[in-house]
């Protein structure tokens, strides 16, 4: 593999890792607070549809982003209602919402636009267009660094940079702020938070809301940046890959970045089977590349690469009175 190819694959990696990263960080807030969320996929999908539709109608990507966040928050609210207020089974709620989203997105898009569950193609300001970073042109020709900066780092939409910025921000929020301390505590031992005089429900609702916002951004990125419009099932399991990345990263923000980049890299490689063939020296079936993130996650879950211990109170509704 030559350097130019590598650069191209890394460029593609960053683009493909972004929705994973946003969804993964979304899941991180929720699960750190003790609310399991396998509904990341559904929230993303819902957001993708809403943002695609609103961007198509208004011509503004930002309006689309807002709509995406709202749509995702709506699903998050149902999940919160089921898992926080009514202390239902969080896993079942997530599964259910994924189905609802999968169907409703098509229904709504079809009734709005009549294009087989698609939104019309977006162009111009209805999309988040690539941004050239400062000095990108200038350093373009510097050996090694130049192409890396120009091709890989520069030239993505603002949401890609937002996602990257969210990684240190999340780390800082989680480990350096009062909110983060409480959030982590409520996922480990809600009774400790409760007896310390802090509202368990409040914290969990806050976490679910943040998850909604981030999934909303992830979905909007899919429809208004990565692609130009919404299409049926366009998230294609990314919510689950993000979940896998979250486990892979053992619920830590910086590790989440690396996990998502790794899984994004696999996705990028799957478009360059020629390169994989060159690297491995034999034909690798594409399905194997597709399955790799899942296989790796199972390996991690099995504890062969260090144990992935989820937040201790995860998945359990907080019940004071038996």
């Amino acid at each position: 593999m030559d350097y130019a190819t590598l650069i191209q694959i890394l460029d593609s990696t960053l683009r493909l890792a972004t929705p994973l990263l946003l969804a993964c960080l979304a899941g991180l807030y929720s699960e750190r607070a003790g609310i399991f969320d396998i509904g990341l996929e559904g929230k993303m999908l819902m957001a993708a549809m809403a943002s695609g539709a609103v961007a198509a109608v208004t011509g503004s990507a930002w309006a689309g982003l807002g709509a995406g966040i709202l749509a995702s928050l709506l699903l998050g609210a149902v999940h919160g209602l089921a898992s926080i207020t009514f202390r239902g089974n969080q896993l079942i709620s997530g599964v259910a919402l994924n189905f609802v989203a999968s169907g409703v997105t098509v229904l709504v898009a079809q009734s709005l636009f009549g294009q087989g569950g698609r939104t019309p193609p977006l162009s111009g300001d209805a999309r988040f267009n690539p941004i050239t970073l400062p000095f990108a042109e200038a350093v373009k020709d510097v050996p090694l660094i130049g192409p890396f900066y120009f091709e890989v780092l520069s030239g993505h939409s603002i949401l890609v940079y937002a996602a990257l910025a969210l990684v240190p921000l999340t780390w800082w929020v989680l480990f350096r702020t009062r909110f983060g301390l409480r959030l982590r505590a409520v996922g480990e031992n809600p009774a400790a938070v409760d007896t310390a005089g802090v509202s368990v429900k409040g914290l969990r609702w806050a976490a679910v809301a943040i998850t909604g916002v981030l999934c909303g951004i992830a979905g909007a990125y899919m429809a208004t940046a990565l692609q130009a419009g919404f299409g049926k099932e366009m998230t294609a399991g990314r919510g689950y890959i993000a979940l896998a990345a979250l486990i892979f990263a053992k619920w830590r923000p910086v590790a989440a970045l690396w996990a998502c980049l790794l899984f994004g890299f696999f996705q990028a490689l799957a478009t360059r089977t020629d390169v994989v063939e060159g690297l491995v020296g034999m034909k690798v079936p594409v399905p194997f590349l597709d399955a790799l993130p899942y296989i790796l996650t199972v390996v991690v879950l099995a504890g062969f690469i260090g144990k992935a211990i989820p937040p201790r109170a995860g998945g359990e509704p907080y019940v004071k009175e038996r």
């Binding site: 599964v95 189905f99 689950y240 399955a291």
Partner: protein
């Protein structure tokens, strides 16, 4: 909070959940500018008012009985098997390999062998997550989700690179030989009066009914079933009683995976007579809804499977005769899971309030 009477718990809670799901579904339809009553009419007509419709409704029902039972057995051991879809896919592979392996002399022999093949493959696919749960504590929900995806990839590989006959373009196996073709309901003497034309529902329906009976026997009439249920209620107590947790996790998941895999004799062997991609069509996930709806009891599963068979066939008719997209049925499926599974407590709270109201009134009158 007062307790609900038993009949309310068994019958009323699922019914009200279903009603709520139906109401929300109707609202969705209204929002997208469709008529819920019209939609319901089309569904009933297409699924229940012709032998053709019944043929498909029962065909889907058969599949959902298997996956619903699969989820049920695992649930009783307190394992949430979301992997029914993958296990059903693998079951399809097993069935296909069996059907293509030999020139089977008679369908009954082939059915037996294919059922074993499907069950074995489904069980094998459940075995790894089960083992990881039992021995390494890996959360079964996450691993089975991962295994669904891995199954999909594996099937693509098998269908594209291994089993696809030369010269064929679509990723599918060859047609199964004649000897493996299962009698459909219209080929069964007696039933053919009800089903004059070719329908996809086939003898597998009876296998499914037998499976429901077997699951009931297993859970409530055998020592193993006793152990499964005890383990599902309390693992520490099960240990105290000398019930081996590893064994129960493995056995219940193997049975669960086996049942999901056996579904393939219905769709792969009974209907399409070859293995295509994504043959399970989400039946594995519907099993979750069916089990929840059916309160994890085989009789409930049968009824819920019939309901979902109707929803599925009716939903297909919607796609055919109305401008309501076929995805409507996924929405309904999601709503049913949501209300019966996750918002169960809400439904109970509503019902408890209603009951309290009814109880309160006569008492107040009596006081006068």
């Amino acid at each position: 909070m007062d307790k609900l009477p038993r009949w309310a718990d068994v019958a009323l809670v699922p019914f009200v959940s279903l009603l709520l799901a139906a109401i929300v579904a109707a609202i969705v339809l209204l929002v997208i500018g469709q008529s819920p009553t019209e939609a319901f009419k089309v569904m009933v007509e297409g699924a229940l008012l012709s032998s053709y419709g019944w043929g498909y409704t029962l065909y889907y029902t058969t599949s959902f009985i298997f996956t619903g039972l699969a989820v049920t057995v695992a649930f009783h051991a307190s394992m949430f098997n979301i992997g029914g879809e993958g296990q059903a896919q693998l079951g399809g592979l097993g069935v296909a390999l069996v059907c293509l392996a030999l020139p089977w002399p008679h369908w009954s022999v082939a059915l037996l062998a294919a059922a074993l093949g499907g069950a074995a493959f489904g069980a094998a696919w459940a075995a790894i997550p089960a083992y990881l749960q039992a021995k390494r504590g890996s959360h079964i929900v996450i691993t089975t989700i991962m295994f669904n995806y891995i199954a999909a990839s594996l099937l693509v590989y098998m269908l594209v690179d291994v089993l696809r006959p030369a010269g064929q373009m679509d990723p599918a196996t060859a047609r199964f030989p004649e000897g493996t073709n299962l009698p459909t309901l219209n080929h069964i003497p007696g039933l053919n009066l009800l089903f004059p034309k070719d329908v996809p529902a086939n003898v597998t329906l009876f296998v499914a009914l037998a499976a429901a009976w077997a699951v009931w026997m297993l859970l409530w009439r055998t020592r193993l079933g006793y152990e499964i249920r005890a383990f599902g209620k309390s693992e520490p107590a099960a240990r105290y009683a000398g019930i081996n947790p590893t064994k129960i996790i493995m056995v219940s998941m193997l049975i669960s995976g086996g049942l999901a895999g056996m579904m393939a004799i219905n769709n792969v062997m009974g209907e399409s007579e070859r293995l295509v991609q994504n043959a399970a069509e989400g039946a594995g996930f519907i099993g979750i809804a069916v089990a929840l709806m059916g309160r994890n009891h085989p009789v409930g599963v049968l009824l819920a499977a019939l309901l979902f068979g109707f929803l599925y066939q009716g939903g297909a008719e919607l796609g055919l005769w109305t401008s309501i997209p076929i995805e409507m049925r996924i929405v309904v499926q999601g709503l049913v899971i949501l209300f019966t599974g996750a918002l169960d407590m809400m439904v109970r709270m509503i019902l408890t309030r209603v009951f309290a109201l009814f109880r309160g009134r006569p008492a107040a009158q009596g006081a006068v």
